[in-house]
């Protein structure tokens, strides 16, 4: 490892880094703007100037930009040098010639990298006395506010948006000191990752528009480490509250999972927490006034449970703790997975493949480092958006490895590397029923029906392994695709095979496993990644339960009288007619949930369940990574964690196990003991009695203001803050001020670093793991020496049937997820209901765009307006999934038109 001398002191640094990364990793404060660990260096802002000396004799030295200088052994530099420090101060001075004096009214104030860097350089007197240039701002949609006057032209926004995330509609315009960052014209930013601009922008040009609706300074937020509930990937987030409402979601760096970024569903989908539709108090129906009639609600629950046989229906969007508590309460034999048959078939198959097969599930960071990618039947941008971002990085990274040796430049030299790479991309193959946004990067993108996708996958695995039989009756086109894919995968060292829930086809999952296993058999270190529908789909499947269909049977047969439903809208799990029928037959329905939904309409007892923001719990991501989310604030009214409700019910009922559990730690230990598959979740976060220097870890910054005043309208004295008996965190600003363990970081802050850039101070090295390791525990590891049991039977090819269409689900990042659509901005971006047809099918059924197409499912008629898309498999019809108030038949299925 090279030794560099900084202000005459030797330091060991990592080879291959640039000087800025090296000095930041050593803990020095060196200001910067245009560099970002995920984006590399371009040398635009000139802020990170240091003095470099030729040798010990050289006293004059020259200024260099640290971000553009590779570290070299025996390099001598000075950060403190007066020329360097003076230059850095002047760079701020230049930036300030046009930056407005609006910190006090700027949303970024208090978490502004520009503020931090300004203070760091010591620029505190403005000697520019001319006018400032001004810009017009743009309307950029519901997620981001635009205030161009604040721009310091660091170019990070376009480098993230275009180069990193593949966006097309944000660019840099004009020149000299009138450079403009925006869209060609006003309009909603199209990228699904646009919200990251609020964090990438070092100042207040792009700010979170949803935060603006209920604005709070970063230092006034009560924050906690949390896990995104938007999909199954388990991105790490920080959620912040003030005055009892959730205000903002920001990224929580996890080097293994989401790195520095989030998708817009994850960032903005939080507003359901503040929804007027929240169930805030228990409700007992069919009593006068629908009130609990003086009796404690839990007595009603107990009475209903005594009245007859009780079954419990779990939820893939509820924590492991809550699902466990329900399963214990009703007994394992009466616990049903609250997911559709299809989801259960698929997720249990994925789980089996990952638990029993020889190939590991990739972390998202491993996915970003894959050197060949095959996607089977997934539109990742809409089903697992951050994984799509990882694939984008993988595809880009592969040719980078080649050019760095030919042009002798390190990979962090972003502009030079991009120039040399040009349009070349690593091998990515996509098989999907419909075009996807990643198609533009693919060496091959094939649009065909799920069964055909599976067949090509089987054919690929046949080409890779003699154990898999040949797929008969393949088309020439399918054969050619399989050969091309097999050749590319075979040439790779770490190929990644992705499949998932959205094609609703077991054969596709099996084909993915076959391909990965066949590669493994060849000695190639292949990886698998399966998308799952919800934030705890994997955890629920690991916990186990009966099929939802059997629950319906139980009720229909009159065996079960009382149904306890955990955080689940069954109208999203089955068609409305079946659901209506089911509820008609239930004697009592007890629902624990957040929002008044269709199921809540049918419940006799409603228990207000805390959302992720008001609860502690554990989720297992698609990767098999167990992660803990911690409560941000204490919910108003009677809302509490579902598991706490269930423990209280159990206590009242005298449940032998549950009645002894009270706190998070107790239940986590109980889960581990009962289900060894969850071993290790105990140590996901430190226990409740964990103290640092004798203190808890505060959820509030030391600058938190107004605590003595904010409740003064209620009582003149400051109320005692709530106790957190479940975790090592406190709901106050008092406590340990140092760096907490990586799993319980409530906010990123370091002296002089108020912005999100302070994450540098929490990492082993910039862009590297957090101190003490990235949080989360992988519960599923492959059986490396497992005998590979390939799936032998490829499905029959899909053939369009006259008079019929194959309904296939189409997922939308904005719209398909149940809770996030309660954010007005997300609702605004939701598509209207449709049925998507190939133009030939439209002709076949004599409809055109906008016409209503009628079809029947289980005796019920549906009508949907037609949209045309020729990138869809002929004979298939795409229908959007999960849109609120859109009751649609099960997909996939063949329906008669």
């Amino acid at each position: 490892m090279p030794i560099i001398h900084i202000d005459n002191k030797p330091y060991e640094v990592k080879d291959g880094k640039n000087l800025l990364e090296a000095v930041l990793s050593l803990g020095f404060n060196l200001p910067y703007f245009c560099w970002h660990p995920a984006l590399g260096s371009v040398g635009a802002c000139r802020q990170c100037a240091v003095k470099a000396f030729r040798d010990e004799q050289d006293t004059k030295g020259r200024l260099v930009m640290a971000c553009m200088e590779p570290v070299r052994d025996n390099m001598r530099i000075s950060i403190a040098d007066s020329d360097a420090a003076g230059f850095r101060k002047h760079v701020i001075g230049w930036l300030m010639t046009n930056h407005p004096h609006d910190c006090a009214v700027c949303d970024e104030g208090g978490s502004c990298h520009l503020q931090d860097m300004t203070v760091m350089t010591g620029h505190n007197y403005r000697d520019y006395h001319f006018t400032k240039r001004t810009y017009n701002n743009q309307y950029l949609g519901p997620f981001l506010n635009h205030e161009m006057n604040r721009c310091i032209q660091c170019y990070r926004c376009v480098r993230f948006y275009k180069d990193f995330a593949g966006g097309k509609d944000l660019d840099v315009f004009a020149a000299h000191n009138h450079v403009y960052f925006g869209r060609q014209q006003d309009g909603t930013l199209e990228s699904e990752f646009s919200g990251n601009l609020a964090e990438i922008c070092p100042t207040g040009v792009f700010t979170d528009k949803t935060l603006k609706q209920h604005y709070t300074r970063k230092w006034d937020l009560t924050t906690a480490p949390s896990i995104c509930q938007g999909c199954g990937l388990g991105c790490n987030i920080i959620a912040g509250e003030r005055y009892g409402s959730l205000r903002q979601i920001t990224n929580r760096y996890n080097g293994d999972v989401n790195g520095y970024f989030l998708c817009d569903r994850g960032r903005y989908g939080y507003e359901f927490v503040n929804s007027k539709e929240r169930i805030t108090e228990p409700l007992v129906r069919h009593y006068p006034g629908d009130a609990a009639n003086g009796q404690p609600v839990l007595h009603h629950v107990r009475n209903r449970m005594k009245a007859g046989k009780v079954i419990g229906i779990g939820s893939p969007r509820a924590s492991l703790e809550s699902n466990y508590a329900l399963k214990e309460l009703v007994g394992a034999e009466h616990f049903y997975l609250g997911i559709s048959e299809n989801d259960h078939e698929l997720v249990s198959l994925m789980l089996k493949i990952l638990q029993q097969g020889p190939v590991r599930a990739a972390t998202m960071q491993e996915a970003a480092a894959a050197d060949a990618v095959l996607i089977l039947g997934e539109d990742l941008t809409n089903t697992a958006p951050m994984l799509a971002l990882s694939v984008r990085q993988a595809v880009r990274r592969i040719p980078v490895q080649e050019v760095v040796s030919s042009i002798h430049m390190p990979a962090w030299q972003d502009a030079a590397v991009r120039e040399a790479v040009q349009e070349s991309k690593g091998p990515l193959f996509i098989l999907n029923v419909l075009e996807t946004k990643l198609d533009e990067l693919a060496a091959g993108a094939y649009h065909t029906a799920p069964d055909n996708i599976a067949r090509i996958g089987f054919a690929v695995s046949h080409l890779l392994s003699g154990q898999v039989p040949e797929v008969t009756g393949m088309s020439d086109e399918g054969k050619a695709a399989a050969q091309k894919i097999a050749a590319a995968l075979k040439a790779a060292k770490n190929p990644l095979i992705i499949a998932g829930y959205s094609s609703c086809n077991e054969a596709v999952i099996k084909a993915a496993a076959n391909v990965a296993w066949a590669l493994k058999e060849q000695g190639i270190d292949a990886m698998l990644s399966f998308t799952v529908p919800e934030c705890n789909s994997m955890g629920l499947e690991m916990l186990g339960g009966h099929r939802l269909d059997s629950a319906i049977d139980e009720v229909m047969n009159g065996n079960a009288a009382t149904v306890i439903i955990l955080e689940n809208d069954l109208y999203r799990r089955m068609d409305q007619h079946t659901a209506n029928h089911f509820f008609d037959r239930c004697k009592d329905v007890i629902l624990l949930d957040h929002l008044f939904n269709a199921t809540a309409e049918r419940a006799n007892i409603l228990l207000p369940a805390a959302t992720f923001a008001e609860a502690d719990g554990t989720l297992v991501s698609n990767e098999g990574r167990a992660q803990r989310f911690l409560q941000v604030f204490t919910a108003a009214g009677s809302m509490q964690e579902s598991w706490r409700w269930l423990l209280q019910i159990a206590t009242l009922n005298g449940h032998p196990v549950l009645q002894h559990l009270a706190h998070l730690d107790d239940i986590v230990v109980a889960i581990q003991q009962r289900y060894p598959v969850f071993t290790g979740i105990e140590s996901l976060t430190p226990p409740a009695d964990f103290r640092m220097a004798g203190q808890k870890i505060p959820r509030e910054t030391h600058r938190y203001s107004g605590r003595t005043a904010m409740q003064a309208n209620l009582h003149v004295s400051e109320p005692k803050p709530p106790e957190d008996e479940d975790t090592a965190l406190s709901f106050t600003m008092e406590g340990y001020r140092g760096e907490p363990p990586s799993s319980v970081i409530p906010f990123f802050w370091a002296p002089g670093w108020n912005s999100v850039q302070s994450v540098n101070k929490y990492q082993v090295e910039t862009g590297g793991p957090l101190h003490g390791g990235n949080p989360g525990k992988r519960l599923i590891e492959p059986k490396v020496n497992a005998q590979t049991k390939f799936y032998m039977e490829a499905p029959q090819p899909f053939l369009p049937l006259s008079g019929h269409l194959l309904l296939v689900p189409v997922y939308h990042i904005f719209g398909s997820e149940e809770l996030s659509v309660h954010t007005p901005g997300i609702a605004e971006r939701m598509p209207a209901p449709y049925i998507m047809l190939h133009s030939e099918d439209a002709r076949r059924f004599q409809v055109t765009e906008g016409h209503l197409l009628y079809f029947t499912d289980k005796g019920h008629q549906y009508a949907l307006p037609v949209i045309i898309n020729d990138k869809l498999q002929k004979g298939a019809a795409g229908i959007p999934v999960g849109l609120p108030h859109m009751q649609v038949a099960e997909a996939p299925q063949l329906v008669k038109i």
Partner: protein, 426 residues
């Protein structure tokens, strides 16, 4: 009459067309190269001649070519930098309009040396006549078999295109030119990697100035010793020098490298106009330091001008006279540079408009002594290495030397709260 290889056949008006060019020996050098020489021999020849780039930086052309990796597969490119936008500079225009085939032949020879398969002429937007003639010359060269497949029956192919810019000074910087040619924003690139390694579309690329490339046929025909003998100094060849300002005969002349400023001004430009006194000159275009009458005997070659504290640059001199306000003169330049900044790096994007505003304020009589200090500060802070490319350091050269040689004028603006030259309208 001394030898003027570059310009001797340029007609007094109009253009030397293909037949006329061939009639005076045009394309003989190309024939010789393709018949007798290996690419490496051509590079060696140019290296021996020690031809230094005529675009302003004065780097050895042969050396530059030798950095092109010849063993990597895939295309290599040659680009003629004809984006002549340095204020006060009009030398390439003479060559482009007068003898386009000389440039083309030079380009084909150069392309052969680096085994490029495609060549581009990146031409200044405003050079409409040159564009017209260049287009015709390229078409004629294709017709005559000097371009295209199997040039002159040999195993050498070269496609050539004319690309007209949209009028950005920045495109004169070779890496910004390459970005612009790729259809990207005309912002410069960091070096390394140099264009020789990763240039146009990330491929090995040579960018040479028009005057530099026009030398190739002559060096091939006459050899390196002849080339060196043309000069008065160690920097070989002739040079196209120009003079503008209040002189009797402003213009451009091809002269032996190393003529003195005095000879240029007095013998060729005819001395100062009646009533005007010489106060100083930018010897090589707008981005070079002023030299004054103390420097009139400086030899106008790369080393000579550098020793005097300026740069030969493009060799086209802009003269400052005693009726023109040096502050206003520099203000005009800084206005240009501030406007032409690409906006990529902070010091240039924000610093240049600041100097421009201060200079304007001085001209209006609202400047202060602190403003002059601020200008001094900028000349130090916008130095080479501190900014991303050479634009801002170049912009500081006339300012820093004006502050050095004409400081009294600056201070007079502050003291008198007006421009002392205001009654002399230019």
């Amino acid at each position: 009459m001394k030898e003027r290889p570059l310009t001797q056949y340029i007609p007094d008006s109009g253009t030397l067309h293909l037949r006329e060019y061939e009639a005076v020996g045009g394309y003989a050098a190309l024939r010789k190269v393709l018949r007798e020489m290996t690419p490496a021999e051509v590079t060696a020849l140019v290296k021996d001649a020690n031809l230094k780039g005529r675009g302003g930086a004065g780097f050895s052309t042969g050396m530059k070519w030798s950095f092109v990796p010849m063993d990597v597969p895939g295309p290599r490119y040659l680009v003629a930098n004809a984006d002549e936008m340095e204020p006060g500079t009009f030398k390439d225009r003479w060559l482009l309009e007068g003898n386009p085939h000389q440039l083309l032949e030079g380009m084909i020879i150069s392309a052969y040396a680096i085994q490029a398969t495609e060549a581009f002429v990146f031409l200044r937007w405003a050079y409409k006549y040159a564009a017209h003639e260049m287009r015709r010359a390229i078409a004629d060269a294709y017709m005559a078999g000097y371009l295209g497949k199997n040039i002159l029956g040999k195993d050498f192919n070269l496609e050539m295109q004319l690309h007209t810019g949209v009028g950005r000074y920045m495109c004169g910087e070779e890496t910004a030119l390459l970005n612009s040619l790729e259809g990207k924003r005309a912002t410069p690139r960091a070096k390394p990697p140099f264009p020789q390694v990763s240039g146009l579309f990330g491929r090995p690329t040579i960018v040479n100035n028009v005057e530099t490339l026009s030398w190739m046929p002559h060096i091939v025909n006459n050899g390196p010793e002849w080339f060196k003998s043309l000069s008065y100094t160690g920097d070989g060849g002739t040079k196209i020098y120009g003079v503008s300002g209040k002189v009797n005969k402003p213009g451009a002349w091809e002269l032996p490298m190393g003529v003195t400023m005095r000879e240029l001004l007095e013998e060729h430009a005819g001395g100062m106009k009646n009533g005007y006194r010489f106060r100083g000159a930018l010897p090589g275009g707008a981005s070079t330091d002023f030299l004054t009458d103390a420097h009139l005997d400086v030899k106008m070659d790369f080393a000579g001008v550098a020793a005097a504290g300026s740069r030969l640059g493009t060799g086209t001199m802009v003269v400052l006279d005693d009726h023109t306000c040096p502050v206003g003169f520099v203000h005009n330049l800084e206005h240009f540079f501030a406007q032409e900044s690409c906006g990529f790096c902070t010091p240039c994007r924000e610093g240049l408009p600041w100097t421009e505003k201060i200079l304007l304020s001085l001209e209006k009589g609202t400047g202060t002594m602190a403003d002059i200090e601020q200008l001094d500060m900028h000349t130090r802070l916008l130095g080479p290495g501190n900014t991303f490319c050479a634009l801002a350091p170049g912009a500081m050269e006339p300012l820093q030397s004006a502050l050095k040689y004409f400081r009294d004028d600056f201070e007079q603006h502050v003291k008198e709260k007006k421009c002392p030259y205001a009654h002399h309208s230019h």
